[in-house]
Symmetry: C2
Subunit: 593 residues, 2 copies
């Protein structure tokens, strides 16, 4: 059972993340509140009625491999085709190729629902959208005309082929190779692993984007090129031709997302897989990076989607399951466990963190949209920097939240949570990949500290912190119940964030890189919790006073978060500025003897 | 691959947890350091060579159910029989029935190794030891003579049958019923769920301890009796007789510990299962409670065991896997990921928490031993209270640590961590049950706040806090590297613990029960982190200066823990004393509409 939290999604888009900024942009006159609400409502229906029932089935059946072919869960293919008929795959893509050209914010909101319904289902189209984006920005007109319309509609799916056994986080070590052919095509050879939806029975063709090296390429990441390699070659009239020299050698047996095939792909068993260059030779990684922000945000939204689903399931269980007598319960017999203070704490923990993830992910989508839509160069630079700053936070914090919330959901179920048929454990298993792929959360933290803090010479992050301080000040002056108690905690958190930020900027300016990197993970957490609290506060402040119930609920969430998680910022600040000595003195090799 | 951390286990027993107190007891002259070391070394060998290789196999094969029978993993039964031949099952039991009568501290140390080797394997004997304890304390001489020797040796295994579908944490709701028979036996009827090793092919007989109600029993937990119900009746000569009217109706499909069958048991399909009363009628729960401390500690040790295993695996991977270039690495090519500061942080996180769990679990075992061995009534009362105070902390903190450390282990493996064949994910799946069973960690926190803080009118917990303060003071005066930086953080943490403790005692004295219960979970965490830090400091202080490497390593662990986790105590204190308002204002039912 999943029911999309439509009211909270719409409120967060409109009143927390800043949808109004987009609606005020020239050319976005059609993006009315009514249109937004209608899109969300229909997505909610499809997610709940069509996708969600397949989630547990796909976990048990999994995608299976046999003799080079992958068979997805029964019902999966039909569901996908109904989904693309609804136009959902085309939602964020350019109208030039049949897309609906809707903002990323709307895409993020629908993506939350697809992931809540089934992360394994949502994952495939997420990769296709990434491929569309890379091709739209970098492919030749010829490639676009042959592939893009069908990828935008979803008639074909796309994949991303980066990882090799020796090259995961570090693409310098990439070995797949490409050879130039006189006809302007290339032949691709090599093995790629962990390829999501690398092979399947859902669509008639699969369009692989593959990183490989030319023979004369420089070493390292400046010698990597990007190629389009279709499973079936495409004739000039768009019909499918011969099978290309690419095959799936197996699928992984994973902890979760069993419905999503994770493939080992072999390119060039024979003559070599025929590929077409995307962008310029040796500039493949730059092509990949253009879509990195969006892909990382999409993974953050997986954490959000799982958290929401796990919360709904735990809430339903806690209201139904009766054990013991809660203090103050005047009823007969046992109390619903939701009445016990410790379970209330757990439910609030889940609800507050889920909303924090939602607000941050939608705010990140807003920044990406603004960076894309703004015409004023200063505004464009500002929003581009903001998107850069928010992306690692959205990815890492939201995926950590996905795991934390799903694990708390298991706990609320007690012994039943450990039994697979209950479904609570699947959420934890599914959620656990998100902190790992698309750049581990450790790499997100390093990205935040090494590449994002120094943006605009540190001025951008300082402006960001000033924005949070302004929200704390507004809360302090609001005279609203609960927010008066929240404001000083948020003010302290913002001050902690400022201190840790300056320390990291200085450490890097001084060339103390290892010290700065030692504090990266707690710094990201510090920034994320503070931002999350500020956005909960913003939600409370922007609530319609006429909807007193929702306004009180948002104030309570902000209050709970301030009383619990936000208090951690002092410890995180101390960790950032104080733990490098112990960390750098540690020699893991000495333990191995 | 598992290798028992023998040096650290022995050091923790002797110099942190207080094995010397037991060695100084009259009648323990044989418990020499040499004997202890010999026992640990042989357990380490058996765990690493015989049990550990079965762990992954048992996860994949699982225990299977067919037609009332349960088949365990190939090799499981043989391994068990070699294990009992080694006398390991008999280690903690009374010599009156063939046991070795060794202290619980030694049992705890060996149990860590069995659980590191395979938690699913160690779980069965843990239940048998619980059954032995209950019978030894409460059963008639007749029952003892018929069952105890074979349970102590491990020739038969024992089970605990408490849970029913409607009665989990709340045994008031228990419905299984018992009828008196003229011959002094009873007939038992009812369904029990989640019965660990309820049915299997390992031993020829299984001795079930079953909670049930007599027809005229009072309602609630004061009307529950404990019965011994063997799978096969036992003739006077000790040979096996007829099959009793008890059967396994199925096994659960669980997230982890697949090697351990979790059974639904049906008592009394026909005439009723023949049972014998243990202890007095309607006093069954009291019988169960006598072994509760030990069972809860044993579950805490599961968290410890998994944490150690996960740490070893992650360390080995991090030393082997090469990606990127660590700051300051002057070598060629890619660095081992163990050289990256963020991975060092993760490894230290795992190592420090594992040692915290070890120190707390062994200290808890020490208190239980002292309570049992002390002859002076005041000392006995003191150690009994201390065991009561430490048990919920050992259970909850160590099992949370098991999950945290196993999850960090998955993360260090990157994408490989999500692939089941790597084995890292199994540790996370196995570890996830421990915070749930034997009283959820929420219930441990409630136990700590409601029953343990008020011991001796609050004087006991105040004395405990004074012990921690003394360690902080000793660190401050030690003039040892790192410890000077640790001492003030530990002092602050102890002060935070004292404030939170007094607040909870006062809240309960005032009858503000719901407020106190709202803060139970962060209070347990606060107490556990502070105790853990104090014991890391104690380890550093008690290290042999001649072993400079080990001493420096222990100081570094204490330093790292103080710079990171221990800083959280201020937030936890604020949470304990400040979050009740938001929690109690929260109405989960209002979200369901």
């Amino acid at each position: 059972m999943y029911r999309a939290p439509l009211a909270e999604i719409a409120f967060t888009l409109k009143h927390v993340a800043g949808l109004g900024d987009l609606q005020a942009m020239p050319g976005h006159e059609d993006l009315t509140d009514d249109l937004v609400d209608a899109i969300l409502a229909e997505a909610a229906r499809f997610a709940a009625e069509e996708i969600a029932p397949l989630n547990a089935v796909s976990d048990r059946a999994g995608a299976t491999f046999s003799d080079g072919s992958v068979t997805t869960t029964p019902g999966w293919r039909d569901c996908y085709h109904r989904w693309i008929e609804g136009g959902w795959n085309a939602l964020p893509s350019s109208p030039d190729h049949g897309g609906q050209g809707l903002p990323l914010m709307l895409y993020a909101a629908t993506l939350e629902m697809w992931n809540s319904a089934s992360m394994a289902f949502a994952l495939g189209p997420t990769l296709t959208v990434g491929a569309v984006e890379a091709l739209d920005k970098h492919a030749s007109a010829e490639l676009k005309s042959r592939y893009l319309d069908k990828l935008v509609s979803g008639e074909w799916m796309g994949t991303m082929n980066l990882t090799e056994p020796q090259a995961g986080s570090d693409l310098n070590a990439l070995k797949a190779r490409a050879e130039r052919r006189p006809d302007g095509t290339y032949r691709i050879f090599g093995q790629k692993i962990f390829i999501t939806y690398g092979e399947h029975d859902i669509t008639d063709n699969i369009v692989h984007l593959v990183l490989a090296r030319l023979p004369d390429a420089p070493a390292g990441t400046r010698g990597i090129s990007l190629f389009l390699v279709p499973k079936f070659l495409v004739n000039e009239d768009g019909s499918l031709g011969a099978r290309n020299d690419v095959r799936c050698a197996g699928v992984e047996h994973k902890l979760g997302i069993h419905g999503s095939p994770t493939c080992t792909m072999i390119y060039g068993d024979g003559e070599g897989a025929i590929g077409w260059l995307v962008g310029e030779e040796n500039r493949g990684l730059a092509c990949m990076f253009t879509m990195m922000n969006n892909a990382r945000l999409a993974v953050g939204i997986q954490g959000l989607g799982i958290a929401e689903r796990a919360f709904q399931q735990a809430l339903a269980y806690a209201l139904d399951r009766r054990q013991g007598r809660a203090p103050g319960d005047a009823g007969e017999g046992m109390s619903a466990i939701a009445g016990h203070p410790d379970i209330k704490r757990s439910l609030l923990f889940m609800q507050a963190r889920t909303q924090v993830a939602r607000a941050i992910c939608f705010a990140c989508a807003h920044a990406i949209d603004m960076a894309s839509l703004a015409t004023d160069p200063e505004a464009k630079a500002h929003w581009s920097d903001r998107a850069g700053l928010l992306t690692p936070i959205a990815k890492a914090l939201s995926t950590d939240i996905g795991v934390e919330v799903a694990s708390t959901g298991v706990q609320i179920h007690g012994g039943m949570g450990y039994i697979e048929e209950t479904g609570a454990a699947q959420h934890l298993r599914d959620a656990r990949i998100a902190p790992i792929y698309e750049g581990t959360n450790g790499i997100q933290a390093i990205d935040l500290v090494q590449r994002k803090l120094p943006l605009a010479g540190g001025a951008h992050v300082r402006g960001f912190i000033a924005n949070l301080a302004a929200l704390a000040k507004e809360a302090a002056g609001s005279n609203q119940p609960d927010l008066g108690a929240v404001a000083p905690v948020l003010e302290e958190a913002v001050a902690d964030l400022a201190v840790a930020t300056e320390w990291l900027l200085q450490a890097q300016a001084d060339g103390r890189t290892a010290e700065a990197l030692s504090g990266a993970t707690p710094y990201l957490r510090l920034a994320g919790l503070t931002l999350g609290a500020a956005l909960l506060v913003k939600g409370a402040l922007r609530s319609d006073p006429a909807d007193a119930v929702a306004a009180a609920r948002r104030r309570l969430l902000a209050r709970f978060f301030a009383d619990t998680a936000l208090r951690e910022t002092a410890a995180l600040k101390a960790d950032v500025v104080g733990s490098a000595q112990a960390i750098l003195a540690f020699d893991p090799q000495a333990l191995a003897s």
